[in-house]
């Protein structure tokens, strides 16, 4: 295992704990497939109620496989903890003395597509209009940057990732 440091996440899946879970998944899916077969034999023997279960158990077995795949993939590719996106944000323009608060707000939404981005841009221009002098503007710029950061942190939330 000379390449062990190169794929540490992959190696998690062959720990005793995970091997037990793999075995459990295999047994569970095989068990559900067997139950489906059992219901099929009952259905063929004349039990009409068994026809529904004949189709249900294979569906549950497929779902079991999907569940297992998702679990393994989540383990291999854990969701980024907001690190990569948060780093893209430039520090508040107002805090640096130059530029409008709109820069900071817009920097957080480079794609400029969603409704949230429109809101940010609007907020930024509104802030820029009142930009003049004094500590209040710096405070507002910092607050805008803070909101922009929060907004970008939750942007990916609630998104359906499919079978990633």
């Amino acid at each position: 295992m000379s390449d062990a440091p190169l794929m540490p996440r992959w190696r998690i899946l062959v720990t005793p704990r995970w091997i037990c879970w793999h075995l459990f998944a295999v047994v569970a899916v095989a068990g559900m497939a067997w139950l489906g077969d059992w219901q099929f034999r009952r259905a063929m023997a004349g039990n009409t109620l068994s026809w529904a279960y004949t189709f249900e158990w294979p569906i549950f077995a497929i779902f079991g496989v999907v569940f297992w795949v998702k679990t393994v993939r989540d383990e291999l590719h854990p969701a980024p903890a907001g690190g990569s996106q948060a780093q893209q944000i430039t520090l508040p323009a107002g805090a640096a003395g130059r530029g409008s608060p709109g820069d900071a707000a817009l920097a957080a939404g480079p794609d400029g597509a969603g409704p949230g981005d429109a809101g940010l841009a609007g907020a930024g221009s509104a802030g820029a209009e009142s930009a003049g002098s004094g500590p209040a503007d710096v405070e507002l710029a910092e607050y805008n940057a803070y909101l922009a950061r929060l907004s970008s942190e939750v942007r990916g939330h609630g998104r359906w990732h499919g079978l990633r």
Partner: protein, 123 residues
């Protein structure tokens, strides 16, 4: 469809299925099974049982999508309880309250915050 609308839609679908599956399961367990055991009347068990089986398949799929969208871990006790709740009488109602408080409401609040918080910055 953008993520916020998608989240709201999935949450609504999950709640609908949780209540529907839960209600059908209560009828099955507290009306159908006593009738089968004490009166040998199979009519409710036969039809409501089959209906629950099919509804449960939809429930599992919708609930699973919901757990993904509110960022619950896949192989966590919470996710497993949400998925199995559809087979245990009354549990869907309890679990729906719990999962709403713990995961759905924060996710919806974050989703709403994305739209309202930037507007607040102009004040």
């Amino acid at each position: 469809m953008d993520a916020d609308r998608q989240l709201a839609l999935v949450v609504r679908a999950y709640r609908t299925m949780a209540y529907l599956t839960g209600t059908v399961l209560i009828i099955l367990c507290f009306v159908g099974i006593p009738l089968q055991v004490f009166a040998s009347n199979l009519i409710i068990v036969k039809y409501v049982g089959t209906a629950h089986g099919m509804l449960y398949i939809i429930y599992v799929v919708v609930a699973f999508v919901m757990t993904r969208m509110v960022r619950m871990r896949v192989a966590s006790p919470g996710t497993v309880i949400v998925l199995l709740a559809g087979t245990i009488p009354v549990l869907t109602f309890v679990v729906e309250r719990w999962v709403s408080r713990k995961y759905i409401d924060p996710a919806l609040a974050a989703s709403a915050g994305r739209q309202t918080a930037p507007a607040a910055a102009s004040r």
